[in-house]
């Protein structure tokens, strides 16, 4: 009797497992996988695609997606995706060193490539008969100008609709809702920028070029990290710039160390967090982070 029960149970478990596997494979066949190279694009995919797509974003939260170094397994995830969304403007340096199916790659900023901003800083090098090589590239946080964001969101919509034409109507309605939210951000950002019109801002990192361009803000950038103490030379250089620019606001990607915060306050500079949100935030989402950024700027 015991043997019979064991056999019956085993059979039941076997069939239960097989059914689940079959169900999974059907599901896998249906849901298209969309991989993105940064969080904003991943967020747009989840907002527009909803449950119709499987949004893939394997980049760890503690890494800057621009400089992420993927493993072979990570690359396979992208290779097997049905669509690979790129930010363009030289974002995700790793893309140049890996092999991805070109037909599945969509550069979401291609339509405004003539508006890419050249990086001012950087060094060239020369060797061999080819002479000097340019290594500067473009500023890449394109989405910080919400006009660009809307174009990129529309590109995501087009790519998803081409992939899943049957779901186009759903995507369209999701797109409209997202575009309304971004348009609202744009309006608020314009109002916040108006308040500080004519003021020079300093930034901890050169990532605000499109914000500066889109909202007519004068921003001088440094290379400071929120979790690091600047050395004396860095402070000296900073104070020199401060004296000539009369800047009173410093934009940070994240909250700076308390010592840095205090020293800045003593110098008459108010640190403001304006998170570019290139990677998945610890809490909230792209829209809420941008709202907080604008509130931080508008509260001045």
């Amino acid at each position: 009797m015991k043997k019979l029960i064991v056999v019956l149970l085993s059979t039941l478990i076997y069939f239960a497992c097989s059914e689940k596997k079959e169900g999974q494979s059907i599901n896998e066949n249906k849901v298209k996988r969309i991989a993105s190279v940064n969080y904003p694009l991943h967020f747009f995919v989840t907002q527009i695609g909803g449950i119709k797509v499987d949004a893939i974003y394997p980049i760890p939260t503690d890494v800057d997606p621009v400089y992420w170094e993927p493993t072979a397994e990570d690359i396979i995830l992208y290779q097997e995706a049905d669509l690979i969304l790129l930010n363009g403007a030289g974002y995700a340096k790793w893309v140049d060193k890996v092999s991805l199916p070109q037909s599945k790659m969509i550069n979401t900023s291609l339509s405004f490539k003539d508006k890419y901003i050249d990086l001012e800083e950087g060094q060239t090098h020369s060797h061999g008969p080819e002479g000097e090589h340019e290594h500067k590239g473009f500023a890449f946080t394109t989405w910080l100008d919400f006009n660009n964001t809307i174009i990129q969101v529309e590109e995501v919509y087009k790519a998803l609709s081409n992939l899943l034409p049957d779901s186009e109507e759903t995507f369209k309605s999701n797109l409209q809702s997202l575009k309304n939210d971004i348009a609202d951000l744009h309006k608020k950002m314009k109002a916040a920028a108006k308040k500080i019109e004519g003021t020079t801002l300093v930034a901890s990192h050169p990532v605000y070029q499109y914000l500066s361009n889109g909202y007519n803000l004068k921003i001088i950038s440094f290379h400071w990290e929120p979790d690091q103490l600047p050395d004396d030379m860095m402070w000296e250089g900073f104070e020199k710039i401060l004296a000539s620019s009369k800047a009173t606001i410093m934009l940070w990607e994240d909250t700076p160390l308390i010592e840095v915060n205090d020293k800045l306050m003593n110098l008459g500079v108010k640190p403001i967090v304006f998170n570019p949100c290139a990677n998945t935030p610890a809490s909230g989402d792209f829209l809420s982070i941008m709202k907080t950024n604008i509130v931080n700027l508008g509260d001045l």
Partner: protein
Amino acid sequence: MKQSLYIAFKYLLFHKIRTLILVASIGIIIFLPNGLQKLIEESESQMMARADSTPLVIGTKGSSTDLVINSLYFRQEKIENMTMKTNGELKETGLGYPIPLLSTFKARGFSIAGTNLDYFNFRKLIISKGRKFSFVGECVIGSRVAEKLDITVSDSLISSPENYFDFAGVYPLKMEVVGVLQETNTPDDYTIFTDLKTNWIIMGLGHGHQDLSKTLDQSVILNRDSSNVTANAKLFMYNEITKQNLESFHFHGSPENYPITSIIFVPKDIKSGTILRGKFEAREILNQIVVPSKVVETLLQSIFRIKQIFNTVFVLVGFATLLILGLIVALSLRLRKDEIHTMFTIGSSKAKIFEILGLELLILVLSSFLFALALYFVTGYFVNDFINYFII
């Protein structure tokens, strides 16, 4: 009958050499027209299948045959390179997707085909061992490459220099084999696949070296100012891409100007393909577009003309062989006059003697047919070589 067969068999066995020569000559004569027919038919069907599965090929203006042969078989005819700009233009048409190809280099005698992963999906290539290439510097090899070079996953291959006397020219690159393809019985079996970027590194358009802005070795620096560092010839270029030096690899110039030999274009549908061909006709896109099946068909038509000449030759040779066979039989009967007389004397009937001789001839002819049949089946294994040496 059984006894006659036994005697005939024993007779042929006794004259081994003569029997073998006869079987071989008759067998070859039977085989030749049929074998050639098979070779041509299979070559034709293989070539047409390859051509039919490739909708459109785009390349610089010049010989359409060379362009198709290079794109389909990776035979490195000296065709002029085009740039990636055309690839971008084709992608922007929205009529389908382009697959760029760069087949210029070799490694240990096998062609290196630079492409992207769309090629694998397009040709439905399956990896039997390992994985597809993920990083620059990696390669996937065809099944026959793996077999002939006796290499597998995690082995390496070094690209051959274009010119051994050009010391400052193309650097050989050590590539890691990360995958082996399942056998397809197509030219892909004889090819080493890499990413286009790996080919551009072999060409010298991309390279890796120590960071000049951070290096402590001042002997490599010729000049340094605030915006540019100039290195001298001592600067060491990496000839292998590893996890440690991958970050240092970079490309120079605009990717739009990087070279490719051709593009396979996969249109969404027939209409899209026709529209695209119209764009080339209207010179909206420069370069030439060809339908591979038409080019291969023209190529095969010339081969068919040669086949007809061969067939005539074989008929004549066959006829001559039959005459020689008749002569051999007649001479053999004359030589065996005493033997036949002995058989007659010991009581064998005339009919029995004819039966024995007839069976000898039958065994010879049947053996020749079997030999020809064996040759016919073996021919199947040489279709790819036949295509490589005699057609393309």
